[in-house]
Symmetry: C2
Subunit: 389 residues, 2 copies
């Protein structure tokens, strides 16, 4: 018999309980022992629900129970969640989470505690919801030197962009639709300004190269300024506009990570990933490009990843998963040095050697961002976006 607790009984926490209800017998069969939900820690009153019998309000009950094996942290944020995660790890519990903010900002410290206490701190659900991507990255592709990780990491903004591209409606209207469907929150800032995608590309970068990249250190541009003009020009020229998180390691060892709307060539499989779906492409020096696709959010998909991690933590009770990252990476910023292709639009004079998309839009490159910016000024372009092809 293995026991676990859920801290924070919102969308993800209740999804985990539901997956256990649906698949408990099969999970026990695979684990070789039953998996029991022993506690639910939540500020809300769960009396009158099927979970009344396991509801608790005091974290120290979890902390002090020597029979508790795994704690699921689905509280969110980096305050209470940080405190409880630290204490749970220090108490020798394995911790599993979907909390990208906490992993991106405090993952290094928490993984160091986990190592010291020989327990697992696992967070597959923090990137791509239910899509297996972190474990494939650090395990299946371990024989590779990773060169680039790029993807659609936020379903809300991908839904909005899909509606803008396919429905021809402006950003504000698409956002309202997403809110009506429950895909976007009342305060959509973390999604539409790219912060959520930023946390995720930091975690991917941390795992790909083993050095810390903090969300506060990277350039993050959202989709609020996307113009229907650019959408139309891109579509007409065989490109789609997608919000991408992107991380690269250059030949000289320096790294970059950023979030920005990109023009993506339709020949790239990421371009056709629409609606709330996510897709993450990883380029390794042996494997080439591999891509992972699926629903990046939602209660059951995210819970699927959490439950997979619970089972993995239990299978690695004796010898923890080796996982962690060290000192900060040496970052360069997109704006200055990175040689990329760039989309320029405005009342411009096409520069020599560019690809002309329309009378007032061109693609240039590969050139460093600083050069592209100067060129944009020189030829009179007022819109500048990176291009993935």
């Amino acid at each position: 018999m293995a026991n676990f607790a859920i801290m924070g009984f919102g969308t993800v926490g209740s999804g985990v309980a539901e997956v256990l209800r649906m698949n408990g017998a099969a999970i026990a069969g695979k684990l070789g022992e039953p998996l029991q939900l022993k506690y639910i820690l939540d500020v809300r009153d769960l009396s009158g629900t099927p979970y009344a019998g396991v509801a608790v309000k005091d974290f120290s009950i979890l902390e002090n129970d020597p029979g508790l094996d795994v704690v699921v942290e689905s509280i969110g944020g980096a305050k209470v969640a940080l405190d409880f995660t630290r204490r749970a790890l220090l108490a020798g519990k394995h911790v599993v989470t979907s909390n990208k903010e906490l992993v991106a900002t405090h993952g290094k410290e928490l993984l160091a505690i986990a190592r010291e206490k020989n327990v697992n701190y696992l967070f597959e659900a923090s990137v791509g919801g239910g899509i297996p991507v972190l474990r494939p990255l650090f395990q299946c592709l371990a024989g590779n030197q990773i060169q680039e990780v790029v993807g659609i990491l936020n379903g809300t903004t991908n839904y909005i962009l899909t509606r803008m591209v396919k429905g021809g409606i402006p950003f504000d209207e698409a956002l309202k639709e997403a809110q009506a469907k429950g895909y976007a929150e009342a305060n959509p800032a973390a999604d539409v300004e790219g912060l959520d995608a930023g946390r995720k590309i930091c975690i991917l970068s941390d795992l790909a190269w083993g050095r810390e990249v903090l969300p506060s250190d990277i350039s993050t541009q959202g989709i609020t300024a996307i113009d229907l003009q650019d959408v139309a020009i891109a579509s007409g020229a065989g490109y789609r506009i997608k919000l991408l998180g992107r991380a690269m390691k250059l030949a000289d060892g320096r790294q970059t990570a950023f979030v920005a709307p990109h023009l993506v060539s339709e020949s790239c499989p990421i371009a056709t990933v629409d609606d709330v779906f996510n897709a993450i492409m990883i380029r390794g020096n042996a494997v080439g490009d591999v891509m992972f696709y699926g629903r990046g959010a939602g209660d059951l998909p995210t819970a699927s990843a959490v439950v997979g991690d619970i089972m993995d933590a239990l299978e690695h009770r004796a010898k923890r998963r080796e996982l962690g990252w060290s000192q900060p990476a040496e970052l360069i910023q997109l704006e200055t040095e990175l040689p990329l292709y760039w989309y320029l639009r405005g009342e411009l004079t096409p520069p020599a050697g560019c690809e002309v998309l329309s009378g007032k839009a061109v693609i240039v490159g590969p050139v460093p961002g600083a050069e592209a910016k100067a060129l944009a000024r020189r030829v009179g372009a007022d819109t500048l976006l990176p291009v993935l092809r």
Copy 2:
């Protein structure tokens, strides 16, 4: 220091040596110890090559070296490879392979020996080349009940179909092109008749549901009979023709697995996977649909998966990966009971309730295969293909 040997120094075996040469330092960093290629067992003479110093011709040298940790079996086939794999496992070596024929036909026995000797028998490279798919299936998605696994599992046939669809050239010509490019072998039977895809869908099915499905027990239809008429009709109606391996578990517990050319709706992400790329879609009852995409063959991509498995085996030296499948599954055959959508083409009278693709092609369903066959006869259709949408 960890030691490994390569048995069979062909495309995959030499790819493994090359990946170690490229990435050895990074691999040692992740493993916490250097990984050394101690032996290459091959019938060929390697003197005069950089590998002369580790070349051996006698398997018993590997078998009797207590300092040898892992053996890579890249011999292929199920004769010598079976004998050497058995003996290596019995000698307490971990074995890693890309040999789908051996895993599909003798995996159950070999995994049972591995369990008895507490060693790992790992085969990520046997399906999808370098694409991480088996480990995500049995580990990341372990909290799910898997409902369906379907995919483009053979790059050679996907290349040929892509050329037929996009280039409008007949099968024979596309095959010759594939052979000229080195994508198809001189004797292309295993690819174009679907045997290779059949072995892979059996392995996926074994892992998804834990019960053995043998290649000889499943229906396997290749692409030799695909007609340019069907290619044109499908393209015009928003479908693509793809050779799919497909395995399902029905609500009543029975399973099916088969390989057949399908009409795939363009709204399904598998439809746009072209050329030599592979893509595998897995449907779980919690996660929904997730898809894995990349190069399904080639020396370095396949070696990437082999090296990942070597590292995983070494990390699970003390406690092996729990992996295996048991008694044969209760199978139903595609032809009889499975309710699917079907494409019918011929000088036919469209049956009631069908979707009309053109004057002489329709889609019906979902109906069991036996019914679709009877219907095809009744309305005068001479072509019948399953549909994925």
